[in-house]
């Protein structure tokens, strides 16, 4: 195990120098694009916000089922089957049909070619499941149908969330899917996530609807409250315009009234409808409704044909800016709830970096001193390998632009403590071998080869723990598993290539002298 071919030495040197160069790019600014790499600092070190959002799909499911009842009724009417007594509850449709038609309905639902119940060949499942329940037939979304629905609403929500966050202009946000109904948002450098939270907390469902003259909470009307003022209005359920028709929205200062407003422009369909509604409805109040609350309900003075208009509602400049932003980026398919939030301010992040570095330096010095006292000249070899190990570790982390977290720094310090283990195993073994073996070279050689299995076993067990942590852990903990895991590889490299090379050089230079470990 002591022989190194020239080729191998060159190979070791190239890898080491390459990684050292990469590691140094954290300190110097290189112009070369390949070397322009940095270890990313995790949110706990640079400060920032981590938000986990959950999509509340219940309204979406209910809306879909609501639409489905109409589709079903019409579809079966065309087949001369009458479905009656529709009830919609707990994400389930119930209806009745006379006994002779029951089987027919069931067959249509379970037919793979069914027009109303799509069949997913890949999952061997229909979109809907039908079952008999007392006198009723019940229809629910199948497991696969729900998954489809959730993924599609997640997809839409992700897009909207991205647009809203981009508009706020935080640097390098990280927006990712989690499961099929969650979205993870990481906002580095943002120490007060309040504005983002407010923006994400709104569905931003905008509708224009006429205020009804008929003051009754009846079928076609509903009672809605004003957003901030007292009072309420009865408004028609019929939607004149919705947020989908908006092309753009901007905050403006109205020069006549000196009031902040939000101006908007509509697409062609929207402009046409808006023109028609405003020409027919002169003198009536048109309510502008956001997420079920009335922003304002101005009286129509004149036909608005140009496809643009403005919303007043006692805005401050900030609230007008936010409303315009929400309208521009579009409505979320479903409400989002923040189910986990972790925010670290920049001052704490910097303190953590400082503390981490101090702990690293002190831990490192303690270990180095201990090893030198213990092993003298071979201590120097071990320590050289240890220092190179640390630089290689930083190099690999930089190469992959890994994220360094506070527990990640702890992982590096721990690697320093555990990395000497392999060299200790080897040197202790050599000591033993030297007792029985006169030939130094043979003793060193068998020291290396006999300790190999123990070193491998020891490192594989730690690696297993690191791998599990990587897959189970989130954020900071993941950072720990990365440094711990990468540390094992750089440790083995530095022990078997660098420390061994130095050992070989040392004993071949001192062939005639006594060597003491």
């Amino acid at each position: 195990m002591l022989y190194f071919s020239k080729l191998k030495i060159i190979f070791i040197l190239i890898i080491s120098l390459f990684l050292i160069l990469i590691a140094s790019s954290n300190l110097f600014k290189f112009d070369n694009s390949f070397l322009k790499r940095n270890i990313n600092l995790g949110l706990d070190l640079q400060g920032g916000s981590y938000l986990l959002l959950e999509i509340d799909n219940k309204p979406v499911i209910e809306q879909k089922l609501q639409n489905l009842t109409i589709t079903l009724r019409d579809y079966f009417k065309g087949k001369n089957i009458k479905l009656v007594n529709f009830i919609l509850q707990n994400e389930k449709i119930l209806f009745k049909v006379n006994d002779k038609d029951k089987q027919k309905v069931l067959d249509i639902f379970n037919d793979k070619e069914s027009e109303i119940n799509p069949y997913y060949e890949r999952f061997k499942s229909h979109q809907l499941e039908i079952a008999e329940e007392n006198d009723f037939l019940s229809v629910i979304f199948s497991k696969q149908g729900l998954v489809k629905l959730k993924t599609s609403s997640q997809e839409q929500a992700l897009e909207i969330v991205r647009r809203r966050i981009d508009e706020v202009g935080t640097n390098e946000p990280n927006i990712l899917k989690r499961g099929n109904d969650r979205i993870l948002v990481e906002l580095p450098g943002l120490d007060d996530p309040m504005r983002v939270k407010t923006l994400l907390g709104k569905t931003a469902n905008l509708t224009f609807r006429f205020v009804s003259n008929n003051n009754e909470d009846s079928f076609g009307n509903e009672k809605l409250n004003y957003e901030d003022e007292e009072g309420s209005e009865f408004v028609s359920k019929r939607i004149i315009l919705s947020g989908d028709n908006l092309l753009d929205a901007q905050p403006r200062m109205d020069s006549e009234t000196n009031e902040t407003v939000v101006t908007f422009s509509l697409d062609r369909v929207g402009a046409k409808r808006f023109g028609k509604a405003t020409s027919k409805g002169i003198g009536r109040q048109l309510a502008i409704i956001l997420d079920g609350k009335i922003i304002s309900a101005p009286v129509i003075q004149d036909t608005i044909a140009g496809g643009s208009g403005q919303i007043t509602g006692g805005f401050t400049f900030q609230s007008a800016t936010d409303l315009a932003l929400l309208l521009r980026s579009g409505a979320l398919p479903a409400p989002l709830n923040i189910i986990e939030e972790r925010t670290v301010g920049p001052s704490l992040g910097q303190d953590s970096i400082d503390a981490g570095i101090i702990a690293l330096v002190i831990g490192f010095v303690l270990v180095i001193v201990f090893i030198i006292v213990k092993y003298k000249i071979f201590g120097i070899i071990t320590n050289t390998a240890l220092i190179i190990n640390l630089i290689l570790l930083v190099g690999v982390l930089t190469l992959f632009e890994a994220t360094l977290t506070l527990p990640g720094i702890a992982g590096i310090i721990l690697t320093v403590g555990m990395a000497v283990d392999a060299n200790v195993l080897i040197f202790e073994r050599i000591r033993e071998e030297l007792k029985n073996e006169k030939n130094r070279l043979i003793a060193f050689d068998s020291g290396y080869s006999k300790s190999k299995t123990a070193i491998l076993d020891a490192n594989i067990t730690t690696l297993l723990a690191a791998i599990i942590l990587f897959f189970m852990g989130s954020g900071p903990i993941k950072g720990f598993s990365i440094t711990l895991g990468v540390g094992i590889f750089t440790t083995l490299f530095s022990v078997y290539f660098i420390a061994r090379l130095l050992t070989v050089l040392y004993i071949s230079k001192n062939k005639d002298k006594e060597v003491v470990i």
Partner: protein, 296 residues
């Protein structure tokens, strides 16, 4: 040579009692779960204002009617850690708290860290933590089963369970908080303890091949002694690193490094006094390993 084997029985009794006591603590006193696993809100704040202290903060928070609020100093004189349940699951609770504090103390309060973990997430985190530790133990069992004979893997697993249970028991006894980083620490302890055990086992197996006539009782002692200086040096360097994290690494890493320090000490102890004694009790001999090698 140190006669470790003289005390096998005594230390086995000690280990069993430690495990039993730990289990009793875990069952009756339980663990002090942090917000990661219990849900709730944590605020770390800093203020140089002399009006701000533990009791004035506690008063202020009690007026906000947030239920059970814990307020304590965190690290130095100007930092405080506040924890409470968000029992009504209010959406803008953090903003409300901030406004209320700004009102009573002026704008002198800096929120250095805010964590808000909903009940669903905390349940999932706890679950995945338990799964992670179980998977780690199972993988170690499988790994050592492949590498050694079953007697060895039983010994190693007993040592692992001992380390995990006693470390958690100590956390229960001292009322220290269990959060995500403690799970990371426990997993690392599992790796470390295994590592320590495997090195000694490796030597036991080598010696079993070498000496047919030495009884396992003596043989484990020889093996422990032969690997002792390595065991000690590695434990010491690891502890040096950990103590450095504990003292200088800041408040956030305190729990993590403390758990690891306990774990390394227990891990070193258990590989000597649990893993090996199980080999002795199972009467492992040269036949045990030779039988297995013939099969292959």
């Amino acid at each position: 040579m140190i006669s470790f084997n003289k005390y096998y029985n005594q230390f086995n009794i000690l280990s069993i009692s430690l495990v039993v006591i730990s289990l009793l603590f875990l069952i009756f006193k339980g663990l002090n779960f942090g917000i990661d696993f219990k849900g709730g809100i944590l605020i770390e704040l800093r203020s140089t204002d002399s009006k701000v202290n533990v009791s004035s903060l506690r008063d202020r928070f009690n007026q906000m009617d947030l239920g059970d609020v814990s307020v304590k100093k965190f690290g130095n004189e100007t930092d405080y850690l506040i924890k409470f349940e968000n029992k009504d699951n209010k959406k803008n609770i953090i903003e409300e708290v901030k406004k209320s504090l700004d009102k009573s103390f002026g704008n002198n309060i800096d929120f250095r860290r805010v964590e808000n973990v909903g009940p669903k997430v905390s349940a999932e985190l706890l679950n995945s933590g338990i799964i992670a530790i179980s998977v780690a133990l199972a993988l170690m069992l499988i790994y050592i089963w492949i590498r050694f004979e079953w007697q060895f893997s039983l010994g190693a697993i007993c040592a692992l369970f001992h380390d995990v249970i006693v470390t958690l028991g100590l956390f229960s006894l001292l009322g220290l908080e269990i959060n995500l980083s403690i799970i990371a620490a426990v997993l690392t302890i599992v790796g470390y303890s295994m590592n320590d055990t495997v090195v000694i086992f490796d030597r036991v197996r080598e010696n079993l091949r070498k000496y047919a006539d030495i009884k396992i009782f003596e043989l484990t002692n020889i093996s422990i002694n032969e690997t002792l200086s390595r065991t000690l040096i590695t434990s010491i360097t690891t502890l040096l690193a950990l103590v450095s994290i504990f003292i200088f690494g800041g408040e956030i890493l305190k729990g993590f490094s403390l758990a690891m320090i306990f774990g390394v000490i227990f891990g070193t102890y258990s590989s000597i006094y649990i893993a090996n004694t199980i080999l002795v009790r199972l009467n492992v001999s040269q036949k045990t390993i030779l039988k297995d090698e013939e099969k292959n």
